[in-house]
């Protein structure tokens, strides 16, 4: 709303589409998008880098060199097994991103589809979907992970699937709630009056209008997935040693909190950077994807 008066006045005349070029120009001026993008890229880059290079092997145990302070050889020191912290952080980004992306994808795919179907069909279809999602919601993620682990054995895949399932009801509810609000809007009635069926309306009218909400929620869910992965790893149900993960590092550090507090700070900071970056990126995307806000930034 802070647009100067002149731009408000000439807005109707200067109506122009939003081609890709202007999108990037606006994106680069959007502070939280840029900061979020840089932080997210940082995490992505570390994960990619760890595939080809780490200063030390993240699996190499050197008990003689355990709990060393930062030095020229070990930039951030070593953990209680003498593993290089930098290498662990880089390699840990890999599992973090993997778990986050796959779990959120599972949640988004099923959650958004179910939510859209519930909103489009109403009636008993909606009732069944929502009661089913309540049912799933009632189980804590950890509990469903324990059940899954009991059936198929613990591991990264188990934790990914468990976290993904845990994300479904949240996204179903959010999608259905926001989709219902869009279905009640007059332009949907107008679209129906123009002869569009429920499927086309869902794809062309409902989904684009709730996309910004979903993107923001997806970044939050991504952050939750990272935290859930850490929690599951702590219980021995997530990433299995020696596979490094930020969650494991955090939990390994817990017992040494008074001896070497920095061991907890590094993975904690890494998780915070990833979560913050994603949230800022999501915020920025929401603003940039909405044509109504396009003019104000």
């Amino acid at each position: 709303m802070s647009a100067p008066l002149t731009s408000l006045l000439d807005a109707p005349v200067a109506a122009r589409p939003l081609p890709a070029r202007t999108f990037w120009r606006r994106a680069l001026r959007h502070r939280s998008f840029v900061v979020g993008g840089v932080l997210t890229l940082l995490v992505l880059a570390s994960a990619l880098l760890s595939l080809v290079w780490t200063p030390w092997s993240p699996y190499e145990i050197d008990i003689a060199a355990k709990l060393k302070p930062p030095s020229a050889a070990h930039w951030l020191g070593t953990d209680s097994f003498g593993r290089d912290i930098v290498s662990l952080l880089l390699a840990g980004a890999r599992s973090t991103i993997l778990v986050g992306i796959i779990a959120v994808s599972i949640g988004l795919t099923f959650g958004v589809c179910l939510g859209l179907i519930a909103a489009a069909r109403r009636g008993w279809t909606e009732e069944i979907i929502m009661r089913f999602s309540d049912f799933t919601f009632a189980f804590p993620a950890v509990l469903s992970a324990i059940m899954l682990a009991a059936v198929v054995g613990p591991g990264m895949v188990t934790s990914i699937v468990a976290i993904g399932i845990f994300q479904v009801p949240t996204l179903t509810r959010l999608t259905r709630g926001s989709a219902n609000a869009i279905w009640a809007r007059e332009f949907v009635l107008a679209a129906r009056a123009a002869g569009k069926g429920a499927f086309r309306i869902t794809i062309e009218h409902v989904l684009p209008n709730i996309l910004s909400i979903l993107i923001v929620q997806a970044t939050i869910q991504f952050a939750l997935a990272i935290l859930a992965e850490a929690a599951l790893s702590y219980l021995g149900l997530g990433t299995q040693p020696p596979q490094p993960s930020w969650g494991r590092m955090l939990n390994d550090a817990q017992t040494l909190l008074f001896q070497s507090p920095m061991l907890a700070v590094y993975p904690g900071a890494a998780i915070a950077i990833a979560v913050l970056g994603l949230n800022l990126l999501g915020d920025g995307l929401r603003d940039l994807l909405d044509p109504r806000l396009a003019r104000e930034r």
Binding site: A11, P12, V13, A15, R16, P17, R122, G123, R185, E186, F187, L189, A190, A191, R192, A193, A194, G195, K196, G197, A198, E204, H205, P208, N209, D290, P291, R292
Partner: protein, 337 residues
């Protein structure tokens, strides 16, 4: 069907709509019957909640799933009540179109206006994207959107209310429908814009030989824009007839009340508008007999016994009142009153 020129385009017979509300089932529309020939225009008047919009939505097949529709709606002899949603999708926007009350919300804010106007053409007429775009520009130009060719890619928020209503009109007219339903198309607009939009609609209706149902609570809008009118109250038609005839000799006490309640130019300062006493009855709980009986100054016991039948009081002019002898004796020449 032997003579397509005189056969009605749309014939509604004894239409009834029951809605399930939180306060129980409500008979939102009862016994509405009318027929409209090609090129004819009809107005639907009444206050909020009288069933005007529900009648319009039932013609479009856009009522909520829980609504129960009875009676018959025929489009060129083809029954629409009970038609599948897929069948209706082929008609909507193609044969029957609708313009809505709120131009601010009737357009999707996420899409540019050009594709929104072109959409019905692509759906119903299988136009290519380029063809549809060209046609959309022509339509936008026709409805008086300045600089249509350049603004076709602009978004709804970049237009004023009047311009947006022009855009929704272009959308509704894209496939040259046979019947246009305009549900209070000017209620949300400034008075000066109202006139322009109504003139535009009137021009387009005449130019394309469409039939139109114009819904309004504004008697002035109805008087100037349609050949025939129906006055609705409590879900029933209380008076219908040629517009001139109804305005000249209002038969129903409700129509008279509506007319008296309109604001007038040149009235003395401090003059209060005359209102109809009481409030609109809840549709879930209508009085037995005449729906207007609770508020009618002429009510008698027999009015409350059963819904009065339609009485013909002039050529094509029908009134649902038992006391037309009194009401019309008082009210000859309402227009000059």
């Amino acid at each position: 069907m032997s003579d397509p020129a005189s056969a009605p385009l749309i014939a509604v017979d004894n239409l009834g709509v029951r809605l399930n509300t939180s306060r129980g089932p409500a008979q939102a529309v009862r016994g509405v019957s009318f027929a409209l020939k090609r090129g004819e225009t009809m107005g639907l008047v009444g206050e909020s909640g009288c069933g005007k919009s529900v009648t319009a939505l039932s013609l479009m097949g856009l009522l909520p799933d829980s609504a129960v529709v009875s009676g018959s709606i025929r489009l060129e002899g083809r029954e629409l009540v009970g038609l599948s949603d897929a069948g209706y999708c082929k008609l909507r926007g193609n044969r029957i179109s609708m313009i809505f009350q709120e131009p601010m919300t009737a357009l999707n804010p996420m899409h540019a206006i050009g594709p929104q106007v072109a959409e019905p053409l692509r759906r119903h007429k299988n136009y290519s994207a380029a063809q549809a775009r060209k046609e959309a520009i022509a339509l936008l130009d026709r409805v008086g959107l300045p600089d249509a060719a350049r603004r076709v890619d602009a978004y709804p928020h970049q237009f004023s209310g009047g311009q947006r209503q022009r855009i929704t009109i272009a959308m509704a007219l894209a496939c040259e429908p046979d019947l246009l339903i305009a549900d209070e198309p000017t209620t949300a607009l400034d008075v000066t814009i109202q006139g322009q939009i109504l003139d535009l609609i009137a021009d387009l209706v005449e130019e394309r030989g469409m039939s139109m149902i114009l819904i309004s609570h504004d008697l002035g809008v109805i008087a100037e824009n349609v050949q025939r009118m129906m006055v609705m109250y409590g879900g029933t038609v209380v008076e219908s007839g040629p517009t001139n005839e109804v305005f000249r000799r209002m038969g129903h006490p409700y129509t008279q009340g509506l007319f008296r309640a309109r604001p007038r130019l040149g009235a003395r300062e401090g003059t209060r508008l005359r209102t109809i006493s009481g409030t609109v009855p809840e549709l879930a709980d209508l009085p037995a007999g005449c729906t207007f009986s609770d508020r009618c100054p002429l009510v008698e016991d027999r009015c409350r016994a059963a819904l009065p039948p339609m009485v013909e009081v002039g050529p094509g002019h029908n009134v649902r009142c038992l006391r037309t002898d009194v009401s019309m004796a008082d009210h000859v020449g309402a227009l000059s009153a």
